[in-house]
């Protein structure tokens, strides 16, 4: 339960933001069930990316390719839809994402190249492949593909957005993996000290490859939701998504040097960023100020976290 107590300040900050915006948004339109359900749907893509990013950062790595993988997986899936239906499209999208993840993982685990550079390179490659489709133009999802469109747009029982449920599912699986298995313990050990982890016999290369594979697969899942939500694949989309995911991870208390961080923290981090985006929009704050405020909040959150750990 120590972990949960660590989360309290973050949750307090999230609640403080909700109260602030409930007061600042005219007509009491912020704190409505509809608006909050909308929020869960809006943060789903960033949160799913951030779950994978947490694993990568936890072992002292990083994955800059996730934004491009969102675009690539969505594009491959939508291109496959007419011939293979939704199961084939999902498999093709996730398979492509997994392939990029394996390349990232193999390079990071078997060579001395830094993950920052590896994933910067695969980001460009993935983006380039996505832009090979349809001259880089958006490709529509046919209206007949109701299952694929439901992934991003439907609401369970007409209330709970499906992408939010997918996000929760991904969260539960990733959290169990990280916090309840030996695999998860190994990741903390690797992030704490690679040498020590190697000495106690943790299979470093296999663990590292798995982390990048998982990170990419989650990005692929986000890509499917993204294409579904936009009713189209957009090869040029997803730029900067990796930075938003990193922001959620660090606001959620994961240390950039590895070894420290939790998935519940990341979830709350993604919620905080989502509340900020939504609240500032609805309070009518000028978009230039929104940047400044978001930057200051990230700076403040990380500062507090660093101080608290000292």
């Amino acid at each position: 339960m120590k972990r949960l107590r660590d989360l309290l300040p973050l949750m307090a900050a999230a609640v403080a933001l909700v109260v602030l915006f409930a007061l600042a948004v005219p007509g009491g339109r912020f704190l409505t069930v509809d608006n909050l359900l909308d929020l869960t749907q809006q943060i789903s893509i960033n949160a799913i990316l951030a779950f994978g990013m947490t694993l990568a950062i936890l072992i002292g790595g990083i994955d800059l390719s996730v934004g491009a993988v969102v675009a690539l997986a969505g594009t491959v899936a939508v291109a496959t839809l007419p011939v293979a239906g939704w199961p084939g499209a999902a498999a093709a999208g996730l398979g492509t994402a997994g392939l990029i993840g394996l390349v990232n993982g193999a390079c990071a685990a078997r060579t001395r190249m830094p993950p920052f550079i590896i994933t910067l390179a695969t980001m460009m490659v993935a983006r380039g492949i996505a832009l090979r489709f349809n001259e880089g133009r958006p490709m529509p999802v046919p209206d007949s593909q109701t299952v694929f469109l439901a992934l991003g747009n439907a609401r369970l029982l007409g209330v709970v957005p499906v992408p939010a449920l997918v996000m929760l599912g991904a969260f539960v699986l990733a959290a169990l993996l990280l916090h309840r298995t030996a695999f998860g313990q190994h990741l903390y050990a690797i992030g704490g000290s690679r040498e020590a982890a190697r000495c106690v016999g943790i299979p470093l290369a296999r663990r590292e490859t798995t982390v990048y594979l998982l990170c990419s697969l989650l990005a692929g899942l986000a890509g499917l939701i993204h294409a579904s939500q936009l009713y189209s694949a957009e090869p040029a989309s997803g730029q900067g998504f990796e930075l938003n995911a990193i922001a959620a991870v660090v606001v959620g208390g994961t240390s950039f040097t590895g070894g420290v961080g939790t998935l519940p923290g990341t979830l709350v981090g993604a919620v905080i960023i989502g509340i900020l985006d939504k609240g500032l929009n609805q309070a009518g704050v000028h978009f230039s100020l929104q940047y400044i405020i978001k930057g200051l909040v990230i700076l403040g959150a990380v500062y507090l976290d660093v101080r608290r750990r000292k």
Partner: protein
């Protein structure tokens, strides 16, 4: 635990900003809830064209005592979808939309329909016109055609490159118009088409490479004024000023000044303020129960040396 004061310190800027924004920019805040609320979402505001279009809408809306919220999607379809969902929760009287992705806004259009908010698309078209009240845009095909016509009058045997922005529907229309006119001039030849996103910083290196690859290149169509500025810079740094003719579309102040300086041959002027004003008028017509035309094309006008002064913004 010494957390709460620190927390307050971290979030003080947020409070301060919210307060500041409340007094500095009355049009962007929703603080005094008087008049009707309108919202507009642009694919980018990093382009004078959209800033002026925004001004056109804002003037029309505020002159009637109503208010406008402006949102910048920064070329991110997902951000646009989220932004618009946020303002739709506030039940605006109408939504003006300039889509990043003309296929990808369908979900947004369905949401707006469900909430009964009329949508007016400005500048770039969408692929589901039946979901919107009307579309107001420049006649982009004609703008491209005028650019090619101006070029053909000067260089009937031009060797041309196009700097495209191939994911933008308005730019696709311009290039279609340009190519259609080119087909009427058998002496002209298209050497290559490259993508430069219609920005100065992207156009410059692309143009440098084209000049290196094609020594015979003597004309370029960079689809908008920011792209043309990048091309001109590349041409000058390659020492080819005066040899390569630049024709484009936009009619911004920067473009007109480049024409007066003899660096740009022509720009087909769009009238963004007018697009904004017409879009707002259509919204009010609809709210008053009057019928509205579905597809409104705002005419463009060729800017050349003779008339560039009136577009340059200098008295």
């Amino acid at each position: 635990m010494k957390f709460p004061p620190l927390l307050a310190a971290a979030f003080a800027p947020v409070f301060a900003m919210l307060l500041l924004s409340g007094c500095g920019r009355p049009a962007d805040t929703a603080a005094p809830a008087k008049g009707k609320l309108f919202a507009v979402s642009f694919q980018t505001l990093n382009n004078p064209f959209f800033v002026e279009l925004n001004e056109g809408i804002r003037k029309a809306v505020e002159s009637r005592g109503d208010r406008l919220v402006t949102l910048d999607a920064q070329f991110n379809s997902l951000k646009q979808k989220g932004d618009v969902a946020d303002v739709l929760q506030q039940k605006p009287a109408a939504l003006f939309l300039n889509p990043v992705n003309w296929e990808g806004v369908k979900g947004t259009l369905l949401d707006a329909r469900r909430l009964g908010v009329p949508v007016i698309v400005v500048d770039a078209p969408v692929s589901d016109p039946e979901l919107v009240l009307c579309q107001v845009a420049s006649d982009n095909v004609e703008a491209g055609r005028l650019a090619c016509e101006a070029l053909a009058a000067l260089k009937p045997n031009a060797r041309v490159a196009i700097l495209h922005y191939s994911v933008n529907k308005a730019c696709i229309d311009r290039v279609d118009g340009f190519k259609a006119e080119m087909a009427r001039h058998p002496g002209m030849k298209l050497l290559d088409t490259q993508d430069a996103k219609g920005t100065t910083e992207a156009a410059r290196p692309v143009m440098r490479d084209l000049l290196g690859r094609f020594p015979e290149l003597d004309a370029v169509f960079p689809i908008n004024d920011p792209g043309a500025i990048g091309c001109i810079s590349a041409i000058e740094s390659a020492g080819k000023a005066g040899q390569v003719t630049v024709v484009t579309v936009d009619g911004s102040q920067e473009g007109a000044r480049a024409i007066l300086a003899g660096k740009l041959h022509s720009t087909s002027a769009q009238f963004p303020k007018q697009i904004g004003r017409i879009a707002a008028e259509k919204a009010y017509d609809h709210l008053a129960g009057k019928p509205v035309d579905k597809d409104i094309k705002v005419p463009v006008k060729l800017v050349r040396r003779e008339n560039a002064a009136e577009f340059s913004g200098t008295p």
